[in-house]
Symmetry: C2
């Protein structure tokens, strides 16, 4: 039995009916030529079920003593694991557009996982158009973190369309095979245990065990007052309609944009890909607030993970620190807005250069735990330390296949909490960047409009940079256009 | 704003992730000839949405003060009711058998309703075979009780296949039209407010307001020790595998049997239809426990609602009292088992003849609240006052239509709680009795086998009574046979 660390326990303690603490995503695949959808999906399900020994945490359930989560908690193997409970077949009502898919994913993401069982579900979803199918997965944040999720996705995918897996992606065997192939290719990768141990080290450092929340709070407050004007989120974060209490219902939308198109904007402004992503989101948020709510006079702030090891290395798989980025939503001119965002991100990076490795590690933890960071501050919905979370996760930059089915896109589905009713997470994949937007259904009405505003914002940036409009639009974009006008 | 009474609040207070307190059901319909499934279902959804003023409680959400549910709670109109959240389109994966339907209903019934919104959902489900579609609905027990549910179903259905509704079944207008047509036809019907007021009267009688649970506990204990040997459930209820703690996942199965077939068995043993239903369930439970668990030496007991007004009136729409029926699962001979069950039910009925109307009313309340009855006893999973709940709800005895779609069957989906991991509820409809079986997925494995055992038990009873085997089997039965062997 493995004991849960304080961070994992925190995700369970802070979870409510209104704020489920699971992360996941939806992936789109195209069926290989000539296969029957039903047979192929049942084959995938059979493959997923083919497990001798589960990779942790997929075979483990939560075990607590008489004190419940107030006492020590452990992961223990589930002796009666009911695999059919976890691997599910679902279908979309006709006409099976992305709209119907997003509706289903929104509902699935809004329900709690069963704490009496291993804390994950995988849904194989049929009924999409054009020989596509979807896979929605959710895993409790107490059981898996972002880094591990990406490794898992990599372990189950192959660049070879002819490759077929024998072992389940949930099996220890496949994971070990995958780790063996990694070799020294990614020496900087922290494995799951290493990441989690940071939390325990921090616990030892800041506290004797009674109140880690308090330590985290003190540390966060020190952070807030230390890095110059841009580092004072508590004083300068506006209230906005996306910073209210949330209820349990979610609305999920997703969309892909060509990676090169966004990077070209970044280069045109002498900035990074990440700067361009933030500018694109900032413009979209400005449009959304103008049309559906009220645009605050003070600029919105976003919690943004940044790479601090190698300046400008957009392909790094280690985004180990978080900054509070100024989204400059109070600036109308797209070029000036880009410059303000860029300056804010640079200031954030500079700030980290003065930090000790242990301090940087704390932010690595904090990044895994947006809710944990907010709850002890007791300020969540009244005075949020930032308005939204925008995460840009580096992914796989070549076409990948799952048992011959081409992965067309992979859209993260993250957590929203009281005070932060909107989360934008994106993963680069092949030639695209796949955006997943998760929002509280009540607090952020018509969130699907954000997709249109993203495109509009990107065009504004292209215009401001004097770039010619792209002539070829991506397939995914055309599909979504159709969806949004349907 | 209408204040919640203590019973309604109790359903909210006792609800956990593992024991959601909503009731509902799944109805099967056949599409009218010549219509397109998608268009027809969207038409039904549009009709459901067509509400000027909601019938209570469909437009109301819960409102509590700073004390939460420990303080006073009210129903208040939801000013931003999001009708698309409540009325949902779903689909079954291929091949769209009842098996896929039951899987979906099991999942939907295991998730909690969103307490920030009116506490109901209606799912229109496409993808069934043979031009059938399904409707799954769930409503929190704090918001609606069994009696009201049946009235609602009646209000939306018509015996005329050509009838089309303008107003939504959720609208106050349709409800008032329906009540007007009832006239003096059902003078004994208690309306919702009348039923609920009983709870408040009881509260005034037993307690000044502080501890109604305590009063209910004292009363229940008095009941347990009062009616002779058959009325001592706490002393004579065995432990069994269906009387354990439950987790949040459910397994739902359903099946129809011809009403006349069951009634013929009852008559052959000089008993009622209800006696025959209990004997059929008892035989099935005996088979299930023998093959999948351990058959206790002491007979199982079931909480059973019975009509106490008119002895033998099986068509009464008022089942106003509950008895703890001996299911005689320790008796191998089906005929002797029937006799033992019958004696137990007669003793139960006789017991009520000595009760005051107020006492009978208490059981009417208790019947609505199996969880409420158990929780204050603090005995739920260790020493349950009965092993299962078997409810036989009189329904409509002629073919009914919803906007031209024939209702083929209507299967209740009820509540399981700690200690009572299995609930069998049945509704008579047209020529059939529609059984809905809800079970905890973990505690009652392979619950689908109960359907086969029900048939086997019925055949045993027919054999014991010397009845010839029925030559014509119902369509629904054949379909389910096919399903069970698939």
């Amino acid at each position: 039995m493995k004991k849960l660390n304080f961070l994992d326990t925190g995700f369970l303690l802070t979870e409510t009916r209104e704020t489920p603490m699971h992360v996941g995503g939806v992936s789109l695949y195209t069926l290989p030529e000539g296969v029957n959808e039903r047979e192929f999906l049942h084959g995938l399900a059979d493959n997923l079920r083919n497990v001798d020994e589960f990779l942790s945490p997929f075979g483990d359930r939560l075990k607590t003593g008489p004190l419940g989560l107030a006492g020590p908690a452990y992961w223990e193997p589930d002796p009666a694991l009911d695999i059919d409970y976890h691997i599910r077949h679902s279908a979309l009502p006709k006409p099976g557009r992305y709209r119907e898919l997003f509706n289903l994913v929104s509902r699935l993401h809004g329900t709690l996982l069963d704490r009496n069982r291993p804390l994950w579900e995988i849904h194989l979803i049929e009924g999409l158009q054009k020989r596509q199918f979807a896979v929605y997965s959710k895993t409790h944040h107490a059981a898996v973190d972002g880094a591990r999720s990406i490794h898992l996705a990599r372990a189950m995918l192959s660049a070879n369309p002819k490759a077929r897996m024998k072992d389940s992606p949930l099996s220890l065997k496949l994971w070990e095979d995958y780790r063996a192939t990694l070799g020294r290719e990614h020496p900087a990768d922290l494995n799951d245990d290493e990441l989690r141990n940071v939390a325990d080290r921090l616990k030892a450092r800041f506290d004797t065990g009674v109140n880690v929340y308090g330590a985290l709070k003190r540390f966060t407050q020190a952070w807030a007052g230390r890095g110059g004007p841009l580092m004072l989120p508590f004083l300068k974060v506006p209230r906005s309609s996306i910073n209210t209490s949330v209820d349990g219902a979610r609305r999920f939308v997703a969309q892909s944009w060509p990676f090169d198109r966004i990077r070209t904007v970044g280069k045109a402004f002498d900035g990074t890909f990440n700067d361009a992503v933030l500018a694109m989101c900032a413009g979209a948020l400005r449009l959304y607030l103008e049309k559906h709510a009220e645009l605050p006079e003070v600029s919105l702030k976003a919690m943004v993970p940044v790479s601090v090891r190698q300046e400008g290395d957009i392909d790094s798989s280690n985004a180990v620190a978080a900054i509070s980025a100024d989204l400059a939503t109070n600036i109308e001119d797209p070029g000036k807005r880009f410059a303000a965002i860029q300056a804010s991100v640079r200031a954030g990076r500079a700030f980290y250069q003065n930090m000790s490795p242990a301090e940087v590690q704390l932010f690595s933890i904090a990044l895994q735990a947006p809710a944990m960071l907010l709850m002890p501050l007791g300020l969540a919905s009244r005075l949020p330390p930032y308005n939204t979370v925008i995460s840009n996760v580096p992914g796989i930059r070549e076409p990948m296949y799952w048992n011959g089915a081409r992965l067309d896109g992979s859209y993260p589905a993250s957590i929203v909490t009281d005070g932060i009713a909107l989360n934008i997470t994106m993963v680069s994949y092949d030639q695209n960047v796949d955006f997943g937007i998760m929002a509280c259904r009540r607090s952020v009405p018509q969130v699907q409009r954000l997709i249109d505003y993203m495109e509009q914002s990107l065009v504004e940036l292209e215009d401001a940079a004097g770039l010619a409009k792209p002539k070829v639009k991506s397939k995914a974009k055309r599909a979504a256009r159709k969806k949004n006008t349907a």
